[in-house]
């Protein structure tokens, strides 16, 4: 799809229980990986890893075997909010940023042997935008097709009223992510009720959940100081006339900061602080923040 240079480096947190060999340190002990400890042969009867030196030094003539910390793979899922609000067009379309991020994640995951899966959620779980975890190399191209901008906002109409609104499908996605611990990138603009997010986070508690907030600076610092804005809600279609002025812009930014702070607090309680992608995806910066988070 795009240049191979755009890769995201990630490191899952917590115990990885996958049995497939991969790139991430796991609790699995075995014959490969980084050295872990020495155990008697009886405990780990692996004749290939008998440590001659340790055996010779052992005062009780116990045959010692080296054990290694195996590297395992993990399933990476992108849980994408397909609600219409991501059709917002600022410096770029938020949906495009989300797509770029998923494509980069898919390429990065399959390159190091992890499997990548995609679950799109609108008001309901979107089966037309569902990709079970796969290690297939071409998955990035599939993801790019699946996340065409027309996917956002519900099938067909773009933005529909009533049941098409919201991102309640995120809850429906939780059962699909059962069993082994996975790394889940929750990609949304997070213009969602905190209560819904809380339930989503609880549902995904066993996974390493990375919330990624797609933002656009035109909704924040790039707001005009003065002027009349006739705003239309992309989801509900409601209209609001706003007379922008510096004091209102300050209040707007403060309210936005409050919203992000609340999200940050909620996410931190469930493991990770949210990452923010503003205007465009910078994979290097994203990787750096992701490793710090």
């Amino acid at each position: 799809m795009r240049s191979d240079g755009l890769e995201i480096h990630y490191r899952p947190r917590g115990p990885i229980t996958g049995r497939r060999a991969g790139a991430h340190p796991s609790r699995q002990v075995g014959g490969l990986g980084t050295f872990r400890d020495l155990v008697p042969f009886a405990a780990h009867p692996d004749a290939r890893r008998i440590d001659v030196r340790a055996t010779a030094l052992d005062p009780f003539d116990t045959v010692m075997v080296r054990r290694f910390r195996q590297r395992a793979s993990i399933d990476v899922y992108a849980l994408v909010d397909l609600s219409a609000s991501l059709r917002y067009q600022g410096h770029a379309m938020k949906a495009a940023v989300a797509r770029d991020l998923c494509v980069a994640l898919a390429r990065s995951a399959t390159r190091i042997g992890d499997r990548f899966g995609l679950i799109g959620c609108g008001a309901v779980l979107r089966r037309d935008c569902f990709l079970p975890a796969t290690a297939r190399r071409g998955v990035a191209a599939d993801v790019a097709v699946l996340l065409a901008p027309s996917r956002w906002g519900g099938p067909g109409t773009g933005m529909g009223p009533g049941p098409e609104r919201g991102a309640g499908g995120l809850l429906e996605a939780v059962p699909y992510l059962a069993s082994a611990r996975k790394m889940v990138f929750l990609i949304s603009d997070f213009l969602l009720p905190l209560e819904l997010l809380h339930r989503v986070f609880e549902g995904l508690a066993m996974h390493d959940v990375v919330p990624v907030v797609i933002r656009d600076s035109t909704e924040g610092v790039d707001l005009p100081d003065w002027g009349l804005l006739d705003l239309a809600d992309l989801e509900s279609g409601g209209r609001r006339l706003v007379f922008m002025r510096p004091s209102l812009k300050r209040r707007w930014l403060a309210q936005e900061a409050d919203r992000l702070a609340a999200l940050r607090q909620l996410a931190a309680r469930h493991g990770r602080v949210p990452l923010t992608v503003t205007d465009r995806l910078d994979p290097d910066e994203f990787s750096r923040v992701l490793l710090e988070a």
């Binding site: 410096h91 790039d222 006739d230 705003l231 239309a232 209209r239 007379f243």
Partner: protein, 342 residues
């Protein structure tokens, strides 16, 4: 305070004034969610204000299109005057001077002198209703009773054109009487007959006229313009002259006296005497008269447009201070160029 409009059907467009409440005139700016926007009372007030301004602008423009006006109604007033029919002799001799010659130099014909003096008379009586009839061989209806002084003056102005041959007073009087309404006892009817010669009225016509005068109850003023050398109204006849054919003026006068109506005859032999006679008529005919007056309209279209201008200016200003969120609209598939990373 009365308001009216010329084109009421245009008001059918008035429901358009509701359009500002249904649809916004501003550029729609899509935003992810309105919960991002802090509540702001000033903005809400402005939105309401702009909607009201839009409604006002549309309503006022529609009103202006329907041509509103103020006033312009008819009012009934009571003044002093009468309904006067000027019955003018248009026979050819009226174009001569009082001396019986064709006017030369500064001399004034009987017709022009009458015209000039009648114009003054009309000008002094603004509330009278005037009608103008003329007669020569046959009566001519010049102008029915009207309060339009300009029209009356124009009709009088036209009365000194060259006249025709004969003098048929009876039919002229009949026409003058027919201008009045028979069933309005509150109106006061006056016939001012201006003639320079008598005519014989045959007995049959005399009876008819008598009946008409009884029915219409008109005062009759006979302004006789006596040409020098001709017979007068009040001349005593000579022994062999006492016939209508020989002295038609005298017999006409005596016939009018028998009509049983207020009748006065003036015999004028110069413009000064004509003026004196008309002044007397003016003084005599002072009765209460009900007349209608049309108050002038004041066109309010300009005001309507002007008052529509203010909300329009407000809307224009709102349109001009519109802002954008995104710097420019770019197509979705072309995100900004990105830096390459290794």
């Amino acid at each position: 305070m009365t308001l009216g409009i010329d084109h009421p059907w245009v008001l059918a467009l008035l429901p358009l004034a509701l359009v500002p409440w249904l649809s916004s005139p501003h550029r729609r700016i899509a935003i992810g969610a309105l919960i991002l926007v802090p509540a702001d009372r000033l903005s809400a007030g402005l939105r309401g204000g702009l909607r009201i301004a839009g409604t006002l602008a549309v309503a006022l423009i529609v009103t202006a299109l329907s041509s509103p006006y103020h006033g312009g109604r008819l009012i009934s007033r009571t003044g002093t005057g009468a309904q006067v029919v000027l019955l003018l002799d248009r026979s050819g001799s009226m174009n001569d001077t009082f001396a019986g010659r064709t006017p030369a130099g500064t001399e004034e014909s009987k017709a022009s002198a009458t015209k000039r003096l009648l114009r003054d008379f009309i000008g002094r009586r603004p509330h009278d209703l005037f009608g103008v009839a003329a007669f020569s061989t046959a009566p001519m209806l010049v102008l029915p009773l009207t309060d339009h002084q300009d029209a009356v003056l124009a009709a009088v102005n036209a009365s000194d054109r060259r006249g025709l041959d004969f003098t048929n007073i009876a039919r002229g009087l009949g026409m003058a009487l027919s201008m009045f309404a028979a069933d309005r006892p509150d109106e006061h009817h006056v016939i001012l007959l201006v003639s320079d010669g008598g005519a014989v009225i045959d007995p049959h016509a005399q009876d008819q006229l008598r009946a008409l005068f009884a029915r219409y109850r008109a005062d009759l003023y006979f302004l006789f313009l006596r040409t020098a050398g001709s017979k007068g109204l009040f001349d005593e006849p000579g022994p062999d002259e006492n016939t209508p054919q020989a002295m038609p003026e005298r017999f006409l006068h005596r016939y009018f006296q028998t009509l049983g109506i207020p009748y006065r005859a003036f015999q004028a032999e110069s413009p000064q005497q004509v003026e004196e006679a008309i002044r007397q008529v003016d003084a005599l005919e002072r009765y209460p008269i009900t007349y209608t007056e049309r108050l002038p309209r004041r066109d309010l279209t300009g005001w309507a447009y002007a008052s529509a201008g203010l909300p329009l200016l407000l809307l224009l200003a709102a349109k001009l201070v519109e802002a954008r969120l995104a710097p420019s609209r770019s197509v979705f598939v072309a995100p900004p160029a990105r830096g390459r990373a290794t």
